[in-house]
Structure formats: C-alpha cells, structure tokens
Subunit: 193 residues, 2 copies
DNA sequence: CCTTCGAGAGAACCATCGTTCTCCTCCAAT
DNA sequence: ATTGGAGGAGAACGATGGTTCTCTCGAAGG
C-alpha cells in the first residue's frame, strides 16, 4: 500500500474513532484495526499517538473551515453570509455521528495535560473567530458583533452536542439575526454616512 | 476520622483533581494522596471511581447553581437578574483555577462512553436552562430569550476556558443586553397590554 | 534462483490504573 | 489486660495501552 494511501486511511480511522469516542478511550490498536494499517507502519508514519492526534486535528481543522467557507461564500450579500454560518452549523449538527465540536471535546479531555491539544484548540478557535471578524468587517459591522456571534456558535455546538438537538442551530441563527439588526442600528449601512 | 469528614475530604480532592486535570488523567491513587484517605476507605465510601465521579458532579452541580442563584437573587428587578447571570459568570471566570465548565469538559471526555457522565451533564445543563427560563418568565419575556441566553452563556464558558480570557463574560453580557432589549421591543412591558 | 529489504501479524515489554488483599496498628468495650 | 474490629500503608492482581521487537513472507533486483 502506498505511503500516502496508508496515511489517509490512518487519519480516516483516527478521525472516526477519536471524534466519536474521545482520545484516551481509543487505543492505537483500535486505529490499526479500523485502518488496516499495521502498528509498525502506523508508528513509522506518525511517530507517536500524540503526533497522530495532532495530525488528526490539523486535517480536521482544514476540512472543517473549508466546508464552512464553501457554504458561506455561496451566499451573495455580506449580511446573508453571516447568517449562513448558522445555517451551516445546522447542517453539520444534523450529520449522523455529530458529537459536538472536536476541539472543545478534546480540550475538555486533555487541554490541561497536552500542550499539543491546547494549542490546536486555540488555533482552531482563533481561526474561527478571525473568520467571523472577516465576515462582519465585510458587512461593515463592528468586531463586537463577531465576538457575540462566536459565543452563540460555540454555545450552539456545545448544546447541540450534549442534548443531541440539531435544532439548536436555528435558535442560534435567530439570536444572530437579532444581534445583527442591533448592530446595524448602531452603525447604519453606507448610504447613511 | 469521621465518615462524613472523610467523604468531604475525598470529594474536595476529587473536585480539585478531576476539574483541573480531567477524569481519566486522575487516578484513585492521586485522590488518596490529596485527600489523605486510604484507598480502602475510599472504596468503602464510594464503591467505584465511576460512583465517585458521579458524587463529585452531583455536589458540584448543587453548589454551582446555589452560588449562581445567590448572586442573582441579590438583584432586585427581573431584568437586572438576567444580566446578573453574566456578571456572576465573569466572577467565576476570574477565580483562580478556572478551567471552563466541568460538565462540558467531562462530557467531551467521556460523554459517549459513560452514561453516568452523559446523564449528569444533561441534567446540569437542563437545570441551568430551566433557571434561565424562570428568570425570563419572571421578567415577562419569552422562552426564546432564555434559549438565546443559554447559548451565550455556554459559549462564554467554552471560550473563556479555552483562551483563558475572563473578559469573555463581559462580551456575553453585552450581547445578552442587546437580546434583552430586542425581546422587550417584541413584547413590551405590562403597561402596553 | 538468490538475496535483500520493507511490511504485516502479533507477541513482548513496561508502565499505569482500578480494585482487592494482607498485614499491622490502635483503640474501645468487656 | 485482652480481644476484636476498624482503619491505614502499601503490595498484589489483572487488565489495558503505548511502543518496540521478532519472525515470517513476498516482491524486486541482480
């Protein structure tokens, strides 16, 4: 089997297992079993479990943000893009196997023990925050709104994850709409300037 | 040592260790070391690690909600009480050793593995939600507002925990204020009825 | 055909951990 | 004073898991 193919299979298995069951609960042997890649090769490819976790979170971060951006950019107007973030969250929450945010979960599990995971979680959340800031900037709205939207989104991920209620995204979307209106009134659109 | 004293010391040690380092990372031996209660007695008092975790979360839930309620009830008017929730969050975030929400963290770690923890997390979050609903009802505001506030609060806990920025509570408070205004405009106070 | 090297299966190794057991001590009741 | 039982210190046990090692096989190159 090709080196890259093996890496992909390992990462696929790691993602499925780590995301659904947590990190400490999953053994390297489980990943070997699901991926079909031998332990020897697995260690050859990733070094240690810690590095494998790192690679898993890294790849998931890229894909997660890409999927979000793909959905959001499909929306034409700046304000619509902001709301689209919450629509996408709703889609995500509805996917089978949704179990909350991988970074929040990992951070809760090992944030104080593993600097690898703490760093990945902060980087991911920071990137998400910057993306929201970009969206609000594009809509000529203040950064405070971005921070408020971040809190709503994080709260929705947590709540939908714990209760298994994908509809939480709609609530977050509604709240986001209200905050957006609020922000628009405080700083009206360009024609008013 | 008295039975109740021993139980208290064990729970104190369990809380300090489980909250700061996570559950799987902490061994029963660590709890013995910090509490000064022998392993034998420890198992006599709590049966299994799982039951100890349960007792820890149970006690923390009671105390957490009590502290919140104590702070909130000190505020006279209904709308002020709603905002007071976020002030209290700010105080909590500023306490030394703050590491996010114990239930969110525990759920992220073992929510899919331990039904004990999943149940505790859902119960705690449900109780918090009901409390917010009570506060909004008292202020003659709709339940939707309570749900929005819940999302803000959860988001604030997560964000403050991951980034270590207690100021997040102020952002949540500001957003809560905006949503409160929004809700008041949608359903004005009694005189208008 | 032979050699060599990479890879797989799985045992082995070592540490950790939940839980129990042993042995010893101490104190209270007789 | 004796005894009995509770409790402490810590070893022991069995399971698990991260990591490495051994043995074997098969394929590629001479």
């Amino acid at each position: 089997m090709d080196r890259e193919v093996a890496q992909g299979r390992v990462l696929d298995a790691a993602e499925e297992l780590f995301y659904s069951r947590g990190i400490q609960t999953v053994g390297m042997d489980d990943i070997r079993g699901l991926s079909g890649v031998s332990l020897k090769r697995l260690y050859q490819l990733f070094g240690t479990k810690d590095q494998l976790v790192d690679a898993y979170l890294e790849r998931r971060d890229l894909r997660w943000r890409q999927r979000l951006a793909d959905h959001v950019e499909a929306c034409g107007d700046p304000e619509g893009r902001i709301i689209a973030v919450f629509d996408w969250l709703g889609q995500w929450f509805n996917e089978p196997g949704f179990r909350g945010c991988a970074w929040i979960n990992s951070y809760g599990e090992l944030g104080t023990t593993s600097t690898t995971i703490a760093t990945q979680a902060r980087r991911h959340k920071q990137a998400f925050r910057r993306y929201l800031e970009k969206l609000t900037t594009d809509a000529h709205l203040p950064h405070d709104l971005a921070e408020h939207l971040l809190l709503l989104a994080e709260g929705a991920m947590v709540t939908a994850g714990i209760f298994g209620t994908p509809g939480t995204a709609a609530q977050a979307r509604a709240a986001a709409g209200l905050l957006l209106e609020s922000a628009k009134q405080a700083r009206p659109p360009l024609p008013a300037r």
